[in-house]
Each structure stands twice: as C-alpha cells, then as structure tokens.
C-alpha cells in the first residue's frame, strides 16, 4: 500500500522573524523618564510591542525592533517621548 505523507510547512515563533526591524527606523523615539506619568498609552498603542512595560508600569523602548513609526510620541499626552532623526550628530 502506498503511504501518503501529509506535507505541511510549519513556522516557529521567533523574535525578529523579519530581522532586526530597528534598522528600518528614520526617527528614533527618545523617552524622558522624568516626564513620564506611567499612563501606558505608548505601551498599548505601539504596533510593534517595542514599548516594554516594567513591573512598576514605567516603560522602556526596545530599539533593536522599534520601527520608528512615532505613534508612541504622538499618543503621549505629557510629551515624554520625542522623535530624533537617526544618526544626528550630538
């Protein structure tokens, strides 16, 4: 009897499945922790899940994968996040 194998392709979860998407960035979000009121708006709206929510509800930015869309800066009501052009001379 002929044996039929079911051939499927399975992908497995991995961080950076499309590579280090932080390289796509033109503008870099810069967080001023002193201004942050921990409202978590940037965290919930970031399309890339690159706003890291800490235990005390403070936030950090994962620059390896952040695509620089600027949504976090735009939704922050106290302007704790600003955008800066990548590679700008300090």
């Amino acid at each position: 009897m002929k044996k039929y194998d079911v051939v499927t392709t399975i992908s497995y979860p991995k961080k950076g499945a499309m590579g280090k998407t932080g390289n796509w960035r033109v503008f870099r979000p810069i967080l001023d922790k002193k201004k942050c009121v921990k409202c978590l708006r940037c965290w919930i709206y970031c399309p890339e899940a690159t706003i890291i929510r800490n235990k005390d509800d403070s936030v950090d930015i994962d620059y390896v994968y952040c695509k620089g869309c600027g949504i976090c800066a735009n939704v922050c009501k106290v302007k704790a996040i600003t955008l800066e052009r990548e590679g700008k001379k300090k």
Partner: protein, 301 residues
C-alpha cells in the same frame, strides 16, 4: 477598565513584516491579550499572512493556520469541528481576515459558518481596502476614496456589513476600533465567553493605504468614530447597545464632527480638496453617514 488593567503578556513577538504604524498588529496585540494563549487562529490571504513573517519563523506565538483567501470561516469551521470531536472544547477558535476577505471573497464561507451555528469568533480588521496586493477597492472602501482601481475616487458607497451580519441573528456581534483598546479588549472577552458564532469588526486605518503619516494611525481611528463614519456598538441576541462616543452621538448628546475633519488628513481623499473643493461629493459622503445614523436610530432604540 483602564489601560493598566490589560494583561502584560504578549503573544505577538517584535520584529515582524508589518509596515511601521500598522493597525493590524496594533489590534492583534490586544486581541491576543483578550483571548489568551488557549487560542487557535485561522488567517486567509491578507496583510496578516505576510505580517506573520517568513518561514521557518513567525512573529505569532499562538498556533496559526493559513488558508486560501475565501476560506477563513470554512477553515475555522473545520478546526472547531476537529477539536469538538476530540473533546477539546475549551480552545477558542478565531478567524482573522481583512475586509476584502470578509465583505467580498469570504462572505459565502462566513455566512455559512454563522448559519451552521459554528462556535467561533470571526474578526474582520477593516482597513477599507485590499492592502496586501497594493491598495485595490473593496466592498468596504468608502465613497470618494482613491485606490489603485478607483483612481478618481470610488463611485459606490460601502456596504453595511453590520446589517448583513445581523440578518444571521447570531448571539454576539460588535464593531470596535483600534483607537479604543479597552473597548476592543472588553468586546473580545465577551465574545470569548459566549457559545456559538461571534463576529467582531475592527476599524483599522492603514497609513500607506489611506495615505496619512504613520504616526497618525490612532488619531485616524478616533476621528472615524468622532465624525460618525464608524460606530462602536454591540449586538447581543438582537439587542443593540451603542458604546462610548457613538452612544452619545446616537442619543443626540453630542454632534458628530464634520466628515472633513477626518478625510482632509487622508491622501486618498485629496482630489476632493485639490485643485478645487468638491462640495458635491463631500456632501454625498456626509449625507450617506446621516442616513446610516437615521437607520441606527430607527432600528436600534
């Protein structure tokens, strides 16, 4: 419910193929938070099938099955039946498709699954175009909008999917929007708790498709609701409840904002403003929305 009450756990992993500012991944994160890990997702051809990223890797930490463009609800029906036969009744089966895959090519499979009383959640993220193949019109594209197949602006009005779904009299149907994550979360949790077919549609403004800057995705969602172009509501066994701002608009407690406040920031409507303001077509859009709200008031109060 506040934003801080939403779970920290992520089933979406950073580094996917979506455009910066993508409404689909924004919504997916919240969807995963609401449904939890004991979920299986069926995805037809659409942006999300690309967003998943390239074999042998994926950005979704939840079992996902890809299927042909027209077959999301049929695939979900099969997966649900398979689990049921194995006695696995605690798994949430969810189909996740674009508006093209829902309003147009997948509508037959969807209608069939609803009619068969399939125990699953169907989610349509509605970016009002076929975005994956480069911005063609769909049944959800609004009147007047530019797409690559409606270069002078669409000449037809969008169909009212909510009313088509309601004609199936399913236990739960809802409309929500990426700009309101708490609303999205609550509606999906409710959908998860109900047995039978559930339909949830998410308004999902797409930066490249609508031609607006990528940092404005949330604002475009808020304005869709504030101008009344999109309504937040839920239908439980034929009982309709409007939510948030849409409730205030329905009850006449606030005026909906003029549609111009929303469309003038979208490049897909630029030809309605330049070189000369096209008052006739803008008014046609406005009138169409008024008619929609008239219907809402008549049928749903």
């Amino acid at each position: 419910m506040a934003i801080k009450d939403l779970p920290v756990e992520e089933c979406y992993i950073p580094g996917c193929a979506a455009c910066p500012g993508c409404p689909a991944t924004m919504a997916l994160r919240v969807v995963y938070k609401a449904l939890g890990r004991n979920t299986v997702k069926i995805i037809p051809a659409c942006c999300t099938a690309v967003i998943e990223s390239l074999h042998p890797h994926t950005s979704f930490d939840i079992p996902t099955m890809n299927i042909a463009f027209e077959a999301a609800a049929a695939g979900a029906s099969g997966v649900e039946a398979g689990f049921r036969m194995q006695g696995k009744t605690d798994i949430t089966v969810v189909a996740w498709a674009g508006d093209g895959g829902t309003y147009d090519i997948g509508i037959q499979a969807l209608s069939g699954a609803l009619e068969r009383n399939t125990n699953f959640i169907y989610i349509c993220y509605n970016n009002e175009i076929y975005s994956n193949t480069g911005i063609q019109r769909s049944g959800a594209t609004p009147y007047g909008a530019w797409t690559t197949t409606t270069v002078t602006g669409k000449t037809e009005f969008r169909k009212e999917m909510g009313e088509i779904i309601q004609a199936h009299h399913i236990p739960y149907a809802a409309q929500t929007c990426i700009a309101y994550p708490e609303d999205l979360f609550k509606k999906l949790q409710k959908a998860k708790s109900i047995h039978g077919p559930k339909y949830v549609e998410i308004m999902a403004p797409c930066p490249p498709g609508w031609r607006f800057p990528m940092e404005k995705t949330v604002e475009m969602g808020t304005m869709a609701v504030e101008t009344g172009a999109w309504a937040l509501y839920e239908v439980e066994n034929d009982k309709v409840t409007f939510n948030g701002r849409s409730k205030l608009i329905l009850e006449g407690k606030i005026e909906r904002k003029p549609i111009e406040d929303w469309i003038k920031y979208q490049g897909r409507f630029r030809h309605l403003f330049k070189p000369k303001k096209d008052i006739k077509r803008i008014k046609a859009i406005e009138d169409h929305i008024d008619q929609m709200w008239e219907r809402y008031r008549k049928c749903y109060q």
